[in-house]
Symmetry: C2
Subunit: 126 residues, 2 copies
Amino acid sequence: MRIGELAQRAGVSTRALRYYEQQGLIEARRSANGYREYDEADVRLVAEIRSLMAVGFTLEDARPFVECLRAGKPSGNACPDSVAVYRRKLAEIDAEVRALLARRAEVASQLALACPGCMFSKGGEP
Amino acid sequence: MRIGELAQRAGVSTRALRYYEQQGLIEARRSANGYREYDEADVRLVAEIRSLMAVGFTLEDARPFVECLRAGKPSGNACPDSVAVYRRKLAEIDAEVRALLARRAEVASQLALACPGCMFSKGGEP
DNA sequence: CTTGACATTGACGTTGGCGTCAAGGCTTAC
DNA sequence: GTAAGCCTTGACGCCAACGTCAATGTCAAG
Protein backbone atom coordinates (compact mmCIF):
# COMPACT_ATOMS: atom_id res chain seq x y z
CA MET A 1 0.00 0.00 0.00
CA ARG A 2 1.04 3.61 -0.46
CA ILE A 3 1.39 6.31 2.14
CA GLY A 4 -2.15 7.59 1.91
CA GLU A 5 -3.67 4.21 2.65
CA LEU A 6 -1.27 3.54 5.51
CA ALA A 7 -2.12 6.95 6.95
CA GLN A 8 -5.82 6.21 6.80
CA ARG A 9 -5.50 2.73 8.25
CA ALA A 10 -3.22 3.88 11.04
CA GLY A 11 -5.16 7.05 11.77
CA VAL A 12 -2.26 9.45 11.25
CA SER A 13 -1.36 12.05 8.66
CA THR A 14 0.96 11.37 5.77
CA ARG A 15 3.13 14.14 7.15
CA ALA A 16 3.50 12.22 10.39
CA LEU A 17 4.52 9.08 8.52
CA ARG A 18 7.20 10.93 6.59
CA TYR A 19 8.36 12.43 9.86
CA TYR A 20 8.62 9.01 11.51
CA GLU A 21 10.65 7.86 8.56
CA GLN A 22 12.92 10.89 8.82
CA GLN A 23 13.44 10.02 12.47
CA GLY A 24 14.38 6.50 11.49
CA LEU A 25 11.39 4.84 13.13
CA ILE A 26 9.87 3.36 10.01
CA GLU A 27 11.22 2.82 6.54
CA ALA A 28 9.60 2.16 3.19
CA ARG A 29 10.72 0.55 0.01
CA ARG A 30 10.12 2.60 -3.07
CA SER A 31 8.19 1.55 -6.15
CA ALA A 32 9.45 2.41 -9.62
CA ASN A 33 7.91 5.87 -9.61
CA GLY A 34 9.46 6.80 -6.28
CA TYR A 35 6.32 6.28 -4.21
CA ARG A 36 6.73 4.75 -0.76
CA GLU A 37 5.38 1.19 -0.49
CA TYR A 38 4.25 -0.26 2.84
CA ASP A 39 2.94 -3.61 4.03
CA GLU A 40 0.93 -4.96 6.94
CA ALA A 41 3.92 -4.98 9.27
CA ASP A 42 4.17 -1.20 8.88
CA VAL A 43 0.56 -0.82 9.96
CA ARG A 44 1.50 -2.60 13.16
CA LEU A 45 4.58 -0.44 13.64
CA VAL A 46 2.62 2.77 13.33
CA ALA A 47 -0.10 1.42 15.57
CA GLU A 48 2.53 0.65 18.19
CA ILE A 49 3.93 4.16 17.93
CA ARG A 50 0.51 5.76 18.27
CA SER A 51 -0.55 3.68 21.21
CA LEU A 52 2.65 4.59 23.01
CA MET A 53 2.26 8.27 22.20
CA ALA A 54 -1.30 8.08 23.47
CA VAL A 55 0.05 7.37 26.94
CA GLY A 56 2.59 10.17 26.81
CA PHE A 57 5.63 8.55 25.23
CA THR A 58 7.83 10.58 22.92
CA LEU A 59 8.98 9.26 19.57
CA GLU A 60 12.37 8.51 21.08
CA ASP A 61 10.68 6.52 23.82
CA ALA A 62 8.89 4.52 21.14
CA ARG A 63 12.07 3.62 19.28
CA PRO A 64 12.98 0.49 21.28
CA PHE A 65 9.49 -0.89 20.81
CA VAL A 66 9.65 -0.37 17.09
CA GLU A 67 13.07 -1.97 16.89
CA CYS A 68 11.73 -4.85 18.94
CA LEU A 69 8.92 -5.43 16.47
CA ARG A 70 11.26 -5.13 13.53
CA ALA A 71 13.50 -7.70 15.17
CA GLY A 72 10.67 -10.15 14.66
CA LYS A 73 9.27 -10.22 18.18
CA PRO A 74 5.52 -10.70 18.34
CA SER A 75 5.11 -7.75 20.68
CA GLY A 76 6.96 -4.47 20.94
CA ASN A 77 7.41 -4.81 24.67
CA ALA A 78 9.04 -8.23 24.51
CA CYS A 79 12.53 -6.75 24.61
CA PRO A 80 14.65 -5.61 27.56
CA ASP A 81 15.05 -2.08 26.16
CA SER A 82 11.29 -1.70 25.98
CA VAL A 83 10.88 -2.86 29.54
CA ALA A 84 13.55 -0.37 30.60
CA VAL A 85 11.60 2.43 28.92
CA TYR A 86 8.43 1.33 30.68
CA ARG A 87 10.19 1.50 34.02
CA ARG A 88 11.78 4.85 33.29
CA LYS A 89 8.44 6.22 32.17
CA LEU A 90 6.74 5.04 35.32
CA ALA A 91 9.36 6.88 37.35
CA GLU A 92 8.93 10.00 35.25
CA ILE A 93 5.18 9.92 35.63
CA ASP A 94 5.47 9.45 39.38
CA ALA A 95 7.80 12.42 39.60
CA GLU A 96 5.42 14.53 37.56
CA VAL A 97 2.48 13.55 39.71
CA ARG A 98 4.40 14.45 42.86
CA ALA A 99 5.37 17.82 41.40
CA LEU A 100 1.80 18.51 40.33
CA LEU A 101 0.39 17.60 43.71
CA ALA A 102 2.90 19.84 45.44
CA ARG A 103 1.87 22.69 43.15
CA ARG A 104 -1.76 21.90 43.72
CA ALA A 105 -1.28 22.20 47.44
CA GLU A 106 0.45 25.56 47.05
CA VAL A 107 -2.25 26.91 44.79
CA ALA A 108 -4.97 25.63 47.08
CA SER A 109 -3.43 27.28 50.10
CA GLN A 110 -3.08 30.57 48.26
CA LEU A 111 -6.68 30.32 47.15
CA ALA A 112 -7.73 29.67 50.71
CA LEU A 113 -5.88 32.80 51.80
CA ALA A 114 -7.31 34.92 49.01
CA CYS A 115 -10.84 33.68 49.35
CA PRO A 116 -11.79 31.92 52.59
CA GLY A 117 -14.76 29.70 51.90
CA CYS A 118 -13.88 29.15 48.26
CA MET A 119 -12.52 25.73 48.96
CA PHE A 120 -15.76 24.28 50.21
CA SER A 121 -18.33 25.91 47.99
CA LYS A 122 -19.02 25.01 44.39
CA GLY A 123 -19.27 28.52 43.01
CA GLY A 124 -16.88 30.10 45.43
CA GLU A 125 -17.07 33.58 46.86
CA PRO A 126 -15.17 36.09 44.80
CA MET B 1 17.24 51.32 39.72
CA ARG B 2 18.17 50.08 36.28
CA ILE B 3 17.42 46.77 34.65
CA GLY B 4 20.56 45.00 35.84
CA GLU B 5 19.88 45.72 39.47
CA LEU B 6 16.24 44.73 39.21
CA ALA B 7 17.28 41.51 37.54
CA GLN B 8 19.71 40.72 40.32
CA ARG B 9 17.28 41.59 43.10
CA ALA B 10 14.46 39.62 41.52
CA GLY B 11 16.62 36.70 40.51
CA VAL B 12 15.80 36.80 36.82
CA SER B 13 17.69 37.71 33.67
CA THR B 14 17.50 41.12 32.03
CA ARG B 15 16.25 39.31 28.98
CA ALA B 16 13.32 38.00 30.97
CA LEU B 17 12.50 41.48 32.23
CA ARG B 18 12.46 42.91 28.73
CA TYR B 19 10.29 40.00 27.68
CA TYR B 20 7.81 40.67 30.49
CA GLU B 21 7.68 44.28 29.36
CA GLN B 22 7.09 43.24 25.78
CA GLN B 23 4.20 41.09 27.00
CA GLY B 24 2.76 44.07 28.84
CA LEU B 25 3.27 42.66 32.32
CA ILE B 26 5.64 45.31 33.60
CA GLU B 27 6.54 48.73 32.32
CA ALA B 28 9.42 51.07 32.97
CA ARG B 29 9.89 54.79 32.72
CA ARG B 30 12.94 55.85 30.80
CA SER B 31 15.70 58.08 32.03
CA ALA B 32 17.21 60.75 29.80
CA ASN B 33 19.63 58.36 28.13
CA GLY B 34 16.92 55.84 27.28
CA TYR B 35 17.71 53.41 30.09
CA ARG B 36 14.79 51.72 31.84
CA GLU B 37 14.18 52.93 35.40
CA TYR B 38 12.46 50.77 38.01
CA ASP B 39 11.37 51.19 41.62
CA GLU B 40 10.55 48.97 44.57
CA ALA B 41 7.07 48.24 43.32
CA ASP B 42 8.57 46.60 40.26
CA VAL B 43 10.61 44.30 42.46
CA ARG B 44 7.36 43.12 43.98
CA LEU B 45 5.73 42.71 40.60
CA VAL B 46 8.53 40.52 39.32
CA ALA B 47 8.60 38.54 42.54
CA GLU B 48 4.89 37.88 42.14
CA ILE B 49 5.39 36.71 38.59
CA ARG B 50 8.22 34.37 39.56
CA SER B 51 6.39 32.84 42.49
CA LEU B 52 3.42 32.13 40.25
CA MET B 53 5.58 30.64 37.53
CA ALA B 54 7.24 28.47 40.16
CA VAL B 55 3.93 26.69 40.67
CA GLY B 56 3.29 26.22 36.98
CA PHE B 57 1.49 29.40 35.98
CA THR B 58 2.10 30.86 32.54
CA LEU B 59 2.80 34.55 32.04
CA GLU B 60 -0.77 35.01 30.88
CA ASP B 61 -1.99 33.40 34.08
CA ALA B 62 0.11 35.86 36.03
CA ARG B 63 -1.35 38.90 34.33
CA PRO B 64 -4.39 39.40 36.59
CA PHE B 65 -2.15 39.23 39.65
CA VAL B 66 0.16 41.86 38.27
CA GLU B 67 -2.76 44.10 37.33
CA CYS B 68 -4.13 43.60 40.81
CA LEU B 69 -0.90 44.78 42.37
CA ARG B 70 -0.67 47.70 40.00
CA ALA B 71 -4.21 48.65 40.95
CA GLY B 72 -2.83 49.32 44.41
CA LYS B 73 -3.99 46.18 46.16
CA PRO B 74 -1.64 44.98 48.90
CA SER B 75 -1.62 41.47 47.47
CA GLY B 76 -1.83 40.16 43.94
CA ASN B 77 -4.50 37.66 44.81
CA ALA B 78 -6.85 40.20 46.36
CA CYS B 79 -8.80 40.59 43.13
CA PRO B 80 -11.63 38.49 41.69
CA ASP B 81 -9.75 37.82 38.46
CA SER B 82 -6.84 36.40 40.42
CA VAL B 83 -9.13 34.15 42.40
CA ALA B 84 -10.69 32.99 39.16
CA VAL B 85 -7.27 32.06 37.84
CA TYR B 86 -6.51 30.15 41.02
CA ARG B 87 -9.67 28.16 40.62
CA ARG B 88 -9.10 27.50 36.94
CA LYS B 89 -5.55 26.40 37.69
CA LEU B 90 -6.72 24.01 40.38
CA ALA B 91 -9.10 22.46 37.88
CA GLU B 92 -6.34 22.22 35.27
CA ILE B 93 -3.96 20.60 37.71
CA ASP B 94 -6.61 18.12 38.79
CA ALA B 95 -7.27 17.23 35.17
CA GLU B 96 -3.57 16.77 34.53
CA VAL B 97 -3.17 14.57 37.57
CA ARG B 98 -6.09 12.43 36.49
CA ALA B 99 -4.64 12.08 32.99
CA LEU B 100 -1.24 11.20 34.39
CA LEU B 101 -2.65 8.60 36.74
CA ALA B 102 -4.64 7.04 33.92
CA ARG B 103 -1.48 6.86 31.83
CA ARG B 104 0.45 5.51 34.76
CA ALA B 105 -2.05 2.70 35.14
CA GLU B 106 -1.80 1.84 31.45
CA VAL B 107 1.97 1.82 31.50
CA ALA B 108 2.03 -0.24 34.67
CA SER B 109 -0.31 -2.84 33.19
CA GLN B 110 1.78 -3.07 30.04
CA LEU B 111 4.89 -3.45 32.14
CA ALA B 112 3.19 -6.20 34.12
CA LEU B 113 2.37 -7.98 30.88
CA ALA B 114 5.84 -7.57 29.46
CA CYS B 115 7.65 -8.49 32.61
CA PRO B 116 5.69 -10.33 35.30
CA GLY B 117 7.40 -9.78 38.61
CA CYS B 118 8.80 -6.38 37.63
CA MET B 119 6.14 -4.55 39.56
CA PHE B 120 7.12 -5.96 42.92
CA SER B 121 10.88 -6.09 42.73
CA LYS B 122 13.22 -3.15 42.96
CA GLY B 123 15.57 -4.08 40.18
CA GLY B 124 13.01 -5.84 38.07
CA GLU B 125 13.51 -8.85 35.86
CA PRO B 126 14.31 -7.88 32.31
C1' DC C 1 -6.12 16.15 -23.50
C1' DT C 2 -7.30 17.41 -19.32
C1' DT C 3 -8.94 16.99 -14.84
C1' DG C 4 -8.34 15.22 -10.33
C1' DA C 5 -6.56 12.45 -6.91
C1' DC C 6 -2.65 10.74 -5.51
C1' DA C 7 2.56 11.16 -4.74
C1' DT C 8 7.42 13.65 -4.16
C1' DT C 9 10.95 16.96 -1.68
C1' DG C 10 11.87 21.32 0.63
C1' DA C 11 11.13 24.74 3.65
C1' DC C 12 8.79 27.77 6.81
C1' DG C 13 5.29 28.22 10.89
C1' DT C 14 3.54 26.83 15.42
C1' DT C 15 4.02 27.26 21.14
C1' DG C 16 6.54 29.60 25.62
C1' DG C 17 9.94 31.68 27.70
C1' DC C 18 13.45 32.98 27.29
C1' DG C 19 19.29 32.33 25.80
C1' DT C 20 22.54 34.17 23.00
C1' DC C 21 24.81 36.82 19.88
C1' DA C 22 25.39 41.39 17.02
C1' DA C 23 26.31 46.08 16.67
C1' DG C 24 26.23 49.98 18.81
C1' DG C 25 25.51 54.12 22.64
C1' DC C 26 26.36 55.99 27.58
C1' DT C 27 29.21 56.67 31.74
C1' DT C 28 32.74 56.31 34.87
C1' DA C 29 37.46 55.27 36.24
C1' DC C 30 42.16 55.15 35.40
C1' DG D 1 41.88 58.34 25.50
C1' DT D 2 40.59 54.10 26.40
C1' DA D 3 39.06 50.21 28.81
C1' DA D 4 35.37 48.31 31.43
C1' DG D 5 30.87 47.80 32.43
C1' DC D 6 26.50 49.16 32.02
C1' DC D 7 22.60 49.89 28.66
C1' DT D 8 19.77 49.84 23.87
C1' DT D 9 17.12 47.31 19.89
C1' DG D 10 16.85 43.49 16.69
C1' DA D 11 16.93 39.05 15.38
C1' DC D 12 17.92 34.12 15.30
C1' DG D 13 17.96 29.57 18.12
C1' DC D 14 15.73 26.05 20.94
C1' DC D 15 12.37 21.97 21.89
C1' DA D 16 8.50 18.25 19.68
C1' DA D 17 5.74 16.76 16.44
C1' DC D 18 4.05 17.72 13.14
C1' DG D 19 0.68 21.51 9.87
C1' DT D 20 0.73 23.85 5.82
C1' DC D 21 2.14 25.65 1.58
C1' DA D 22 4.94 25.51 -2.80
C1' DA D 23 6.29 23.62 -6.94
C1' DT D 24 6.31 19.54 -9.40
C1' DG D 25 5.67 14.49 -10.88
C1' DT D 26 2.51 10.23 -11.73
C1' DC D 27 -1.34 7.83 -13.19
C1' DA D 28 -6.19 6.35 -14.26
C1' DA D 29 -10.66 7.96 -15.95
C1' DG D 30 -13.57 10.69 -18.85
